[in-house]
């Protein structure tokens, strides 16, 4: 399945957002997520199914002004 992750197109096999994080090696990271510009809570990632063409955002804490 082809989706966008943080703005980059990539081929993934995970059917859910939680499994996608595992697939990308981010399963243990302190991150927040959005799917197609909608926030997805950490506890909802198991249920959140991915579809062809979806856009996923995965963000972590960073310096800011």
């Amino acid at each position: 399945m082809r989706i966008e992750v943080n703005g980059k197109a990539r081929e993934v096999r995970s059917p859910t957002l939680a499994l996608l994080l595992e697939e990308l090696g981010l399963g243990d990271r302190h991150v927040a997520t959005a799917l197609n510009q909608e926030f997805v809570r950490a506890k909802d990632r198991d249920e959140k199914r991915l579809h062809e063409g979806d856009a996923v955002e995965i963000v972590s804490p960073r310096q800011g002004g």
């Binding site: 943080n6 703005g7 090696g25 981010l26 990271r29 302190h30 991150v31 927040a32 997520t33 959005a34 510009q37 909608e38 926030f39 809570r41 950490a42 955002e57 995965i58 963000v59 972590s60 804490p61 960073r62 310096q63 800011g64 002004g65």
Partner: protein, 321 residues
């Protein structure tokens, strides 16, 4: 006249520069309470009784932002420092109790975010996440929701940028996003222009703090529109006002506090200084001085000179009876 001289010149060292000396003990003392080891010596060396009184006053002069009481009136950004170690030392030197943070796309194997987040937690500062760089209401709202989960706080510094050259806020998107977020339980700190009408609409939308810019982000120009900022202060006497963005030097921060602004938020002026840690300390002193001066009610400027030294009794005064 003798009484006049005594009032203007604190013993035991009468000085011609009477006004400056009159103010000095308070400013240095309040600074010593919150900021810098050198200023503590200065404060205690001069007029101990006054020092103790003003120190007590300073302890009760708290800043309240969304029911959180704070001693520091300086909010510090965490970006653009030469190293994480310098960032950590600068936060300590600034005495800031609130630091701004952001969230960015997770970049593969770097784990940069985790190290940064650990460092910030070690400082003990409260975090104010921002929505920096967001260009639409939707982006800003979703970013705020992600920040709330990531940083475990309902505080959000709301930025909706309308112009990429000046990073001027989009006032229309800002008000819309503020309304959505306030309804969703966020404590919104809107980064705004000094526009009175926008301010009114943000307050109506549920903002209990307003953060007008002084000048474009990172420009270091200081208070571009002191008139507009003063008007905002007068119009919203009970809303905490934080000057956010555009400050370059500690004197700019002092000027903002002297105008009656409750606090300042800055980043680049400290992070890009030659010595960020020393500059953080300098800003802490300036903020304390500006607040102290505001509470002391600065004199009103006038156009013509007025002698500070008594005229009566001048030697060689042939005109006197």
């Amino acid at each position: 006249m003798i009484r006049e001289i005594e009032r203007r010149s604190p013993p035991p060292q009468p000085s011609p520069a009477s006004r400056e000396r009159e103010l000095a003990p308070r400013v240095t003392d309040i600074a010593s309470n919150a900021c810098h080891p050198l200023s503590r010596e200065a404060g205690e060396g001069e007029g101990g009784g006054i020092s103790r009184d003003s120190r007590a006053a300073n302890l009760s002069d708290l800043l309240k932002l969304y029911d959180v009481e704070l001693h520091s009136r300086l909010l510090l950004g965490t970006a653009r420092y030469p190293s994480p170690a310098i960032l950590k030392r600068a936060i300590a030197a600034s005495k800031a109790e609130i630091v701004t943070v952001s969230l960015r796309r997770e970049a593969g194997d770097s784990r940069a975010g985790e190290g940064f987040w650990r460092l910030i937690r070690e400082t003990g500062a409260r975090v104010l996440p921002n929505t920096a760089g967001c260009l639409t209401v939707k982006e800003a709202v979703t970013t705020a929701q992600m920040a709330r989960e990531l940083f475990a706080t309902s505080w959000i510094k709301l930025e909706v940028i309308g112009d990429e050259d000046t990073l001027q806020p989009d006032p229309f998107g800002l008000v819309d996003a503020a309304r959505i977020l306030a309804r969703d339980g966020f404590d919104v700190f809107p980064y705004m222009t000094e526009d009175l009408v926008v301010a009114e609409k943000l307050v109506d939308a549920g903002c209990k703090v307003l953060m007008p810019w002084a000048a474009p982000i990172g420009s270091g120009r200081g208070l571009n529109n002191a008139f507009g900022l003063r008007a905002l202060r007068v119009r919203f006497p009970d809303v905490p006002l934080v000057v956010d963005a555009g400050l370059g030097a500690p004197s700019h921060a002092a000027a903002a506090l002297e105008l009656g602004f409750d606090a300042v938020l800055l980043n680049t002026a400290v992070a890009r200084a030659g010595d960020p840690v020393a500059m953080a300390g300098a800003f802490a002193l300036a903020v304390a001085a500006g607040r102290s001066a505001y509470l002391a009610k600065p004199m009103t400027p006038r156009d013509l000179a007025e002698p500070s030294t008594p005229v009566l009794g001048r030697a060689f005064d042939l005109g006197a009876a």
